[in-house]
Symmetry: C2
Subunit: 561 residues, 2 copies
């Protein structure tokens, strides 16, 4: 298996007749999926998603792929294929379209509907091409065939891209539920046919490659939901993802069977379920869905609320219910179901919500104590089937952290893909398919681009480093007004601190030290503000470290009069 | 089941002949376990541990129980019973002994040895009473019997405390491994005898009450370790907890079988394994353990390194290896085993380490892909056995978040403890055992006490709130020197920012606004520094919000000349 060398340089010009695949996101992380295909000077993009920040990126709203490697080639882009409607696949599109609004968007009906609703909020009206499984479309030099795949959102597609350099298949996100709720299977017959023709390079979802065995069918959840509904004596509140139409369908069905009405709560849930209903992806018996405002007129045992917040998001309805900060007041006997995954990193937030709800007397059903969630990504057992059917000539795991990519590569090797034909790449690594062999060619810029408030890219790693120090230790500001002609203090030092845990009055003991140091430096003729600031920083820093064993940020400012 | 009312007042004086149980930590959280028993005006403390901070407590080193409810009664304390040597049970002792160094410490041989090593670092020489299972000791009015329990550290004890008010049994942390590595079982025959006599109040470990079934025996891990050792061709690096003597014993045994030597890495690992060896808890064949410095002389396939860092702690050896920031450089083919739990909240840090190690070519074996860890706490199946054997007259779940306490209470109810005899308490809630019935009596202060650097309690919730704002948004400081006689600006505004993502040069657009506002206020005769600061804060805050949609902390300082 080939790995990128840590000090890989920029890739050379793509050889004539070759195809280049450059992931700009999704390799080395779960999220911001984006892959650029290049052939004959033209580009095709597959997905353009966002990554949600972790603790290491404090205060950040979203993380985008870095578009800088394609910024001067926007006119070469033939289109963006969107494999499905999840945020980590479509969430970056508004930001790319800001740079060129007329790039065509290609996707299935539901995917485009969800994306268009999002673009409307950004006041962008896109050019779109709606496709479905079985369709074949020529997009510039890229001959694209779309194949149905099963995932945790309806209408997901894989795409097979034929060029004279060979055929590249990108799975998007997928699993292989053999009893899907909507009957729409991952089309293994189509993949078998593509395999017979010859898949030169397979880009395949790695998210669950470490997980042994097979994902249980989505429909198994309905039995668990039925049991919970049968036992519930008061209200039922379900939290799930606003895009998980099949999960919500099962809640709708359970509510209908048990004589309950449903109200959707929260902007994204209401919007997406409206779209899914209008387009026929969510089937709701007449009169079953009611407005949340009318719930007070119903007895508790006839109520189901469906909301977001299953990841413990502090502003979502569920967190606010847990904190008694929402019009819906949890009482003894309410049942709350978290019908969703628990995304790593959200554990503390989610457990805080579960504890809060439990404290008010709710019976909380979640992944940890009942089978109310199945994953949307193929596990190791499914991937083995998939590789044996596709028999790709080259394999490049996508969508995963390093541990997932490597586990996926090993599955490919077990099914007989030759080790030298397996490429573990990472964000920015250009992989060239030349003469039927995939090889790492170099690396382009692919760092994190941060969205914070209105701006994109203003907040840099250095700001985040400052935030981490400030967040851990707080700061101390030391202000002095100095007469530059003499170096003598005219006013100050005035010392203020936030977050350091040191009271302003405690600084009385360091002020004489500062005065002493500056008096000495004035004698020595040091009068330059920058030098004085350094002296102050050192003096205060040493005092804090000796006295408190802490390291707050120290901000000395010497003003001159 | 009784729950504490959110607005519970302080408890009344304990009725004559009654026993009061007040948890000061460990109920509502996993950690800082501490319970105060009171009878006849005298106090007995069971455990005094620390809690490790989460994301919500940035920059904090440790969280202690709040001692304020016992601070003016230190002379009433007969002793502190330590159930076992984990940090969340003994880590707070040095801080309590700082307030009164001669409180006797009661515990088993290993527990006291680990605690004394810790106290030595704090330069405290304690008074101790070493006990073991089967011992019965009168400690003031408290007649204590010690019972062996099995846990993830050797030599753990439960304690049965007899007073004229009745018998209280505190399990400490325990599970019921029926094939323990050292043959030392949770002594169900002793618990049966206590149950026959009559357990008036049982305080029982809730950590795993939500987990169905039974914990697998610790010794099952050895089979998995053997397989990993058999396959490993180069070095093996094992990360585990520095106190998990039985886990390390199995690694020692596997290394011995496979002709490898072991080096312990890291201060706590070296210290604790030294203690465990000296006291006979860890059995090591002569010559097997070598100094880490001599490893270079051995071929890779004869090396095992045992270190800490299994929770992704950034300064621990394992994280530094993952970042190539450690003398041990991970290379293709090294095997790394994380033989430990993954404590909720540490997922991102641990996966970051696994990804880093994988990227350098290591084969990483962890809980997620192999059975290299079993829990130290009884699961639901074990707790049912335990309650059926003890048949307590009153039950009070301890050691857990709300969700765990409630799940444990439900297990008790299933085995026949009457619902009105089950008390779900939380930190600070005083539970009185009077006339054989346990009842919530009131609530004492039991908030978090933060250790940050050298100080205890200086850093308050308000400092943490500032840190969270600073960490998410950064700050902007605005400095002005004003002539107080006229209200006119003599120097400034000088604006500096860190962490806001706004460049200092971008403030050029807000400076005229500040000047304008202050010129107007000078005309109106507003010259007081505090009022001017408010004006500056409002002006800059509105500008930042309008321009960037962000909310950094704004620190205006007006100095007067």
């Amino acid at each position: 298996m080939s790995h990128p060398h840590p000090e890989l340089g920029p890739p050379p010009k793509l050889p004539e007749g070759g195809l280049r695949v450059t992931p700009l996101g999704g390799l080395g992380e779960i999220g911001r999926n984006m892959t650029v295909l290049e052939y004959g000077g033209r580009l095709l993009i597959v997905d353009c998603g966002v990554l949600f920040p972790e603790e290491e990126q404090p205060g950040i709203d979203l993380i985008l792929p870095d578009f800088s490697s394609i910024r001067d080639r926007l006119d070469d882009i033939e289109g963006i294929v969107l494999t499905h409607g999840h945020e980590d696949h479509i969430g970056g599109v508004p930001y790319l379209l800001r740079e060129k609004p007329d790039i065509p968007l290609i996707g299935s009906k539901l995917t485009l509907a969800l994306l268009e609703a999002k673009l409307q909020e950004h006041r962008i009206r896109p050019y779109t091409l709606q496709v479905k499984e079985g369709h074949r479309e020529r997009i510039g030099p890229f001959d694209c065939e779309f194949v149905s795949v099963n995932h945790s959102i309806p209408d997901a597609l894989a795409v097979a891209v034929r060029t004279p350099a060979g055929m590249v298949v990108h799975t998007g996100d997928f699993k292989m539920d053999q009893l899907p709720l909507d009957g729409r299977l991952t089309d293994l017959r189509a993949f078998a046919r593509l395999g017979e023709e010859g898949i030169d390079l397979l880009l395949s979802d790695s998210t669950n490659a470490e997980v042994p065995g097979f994902v249980a069918p989505e429909r198994e959840i309905s039995g668990v939901l039925r049991q919970v509904f049968a036992r519930a004596e008061k209200r039922i509140i379900v939290a799930s993802f606003a895009s998980h139409v099949h999960r919500i369908q099962q809640i709708v069905d359970a509510a209908h069977e048990h004589g309950r009405r449903i109200a959707f709560v929260g902007r994204s849930m209401v919007r997406n379920m409206g779209i899914a209903r209008d387009l026929g992806y969510l089937r709701v018996p007449a009169g079953l869905v009611v407005d949340v405002k009318t719930l007070d007129d119903l007895p508790d045992h006839e109520v189901v609320l469906v909301c977001t917040g299953s990841q413990g998001e502090p502003m979502a309805a569920l967190s606010r219910m847990a904190n008694r900060d929402h019009q819906i007041r949890i009482v003894e006997g309410d049942t709350v179901i978290l019908a969703s995954s628990l995304i790593p990193g959200n554990e503390n937030a989610v457990y805080r919500v579960i504890n809060g709800l439990t404290r008010w007397g709710a019976n909380v059903v979640h992944k940890g104590n009942a089978k109310v969630h199945v994953s949307g990504h193929a596990s190791a057992g499914e991937l083995l089937y998939f590789y044996n059917i596709c028999q790709p000539r080259n394999l490049m795991p996508v969508h995963g952290e390093w541990r997932h990519l490597r586990a996926n590569a090993e599955l490919g090797a077990m099914t007989g893909v030759p080790a030298e034909r397996i490429v573990i790449a990472e964000d920015g690594v250009a992989v060239d398919l030349v003469d039927g062999k995939a090889k790492i060619a170099g690396k382009v810029q692919a760092g994190y681009v941060y969205v914070d408030g209105l701006s994109v890219g203003d907040v840099t790693e250095s700001s985040l480093k400052d935030r981490r120090i400030l967040g851990d230790e707080g700061f101390i500001s030391v202000l002095l007004v100095v007469d530059t002609s003499t170096g003598k203090i005219v006013s100050g030092p005035s010392i203020h601190s936030r977050g350091s845990g040191i009271e302003d009055s405690d600084f009385a003991t360091v002020i004489p030290k500062i005065n002493e140091v500056l008096a000495r430096s004035a004698q020595d003729g040091v009068v330059e503000a920058h030098q004085l600031q350094q002296l102050v920083r050192r003096t205060v820093g040493k005092w804090v470290s000796d006295t408190y064993r802490r390291r707050p940020m120290i901000m000395p400012v010497v003003m001159e009069v």
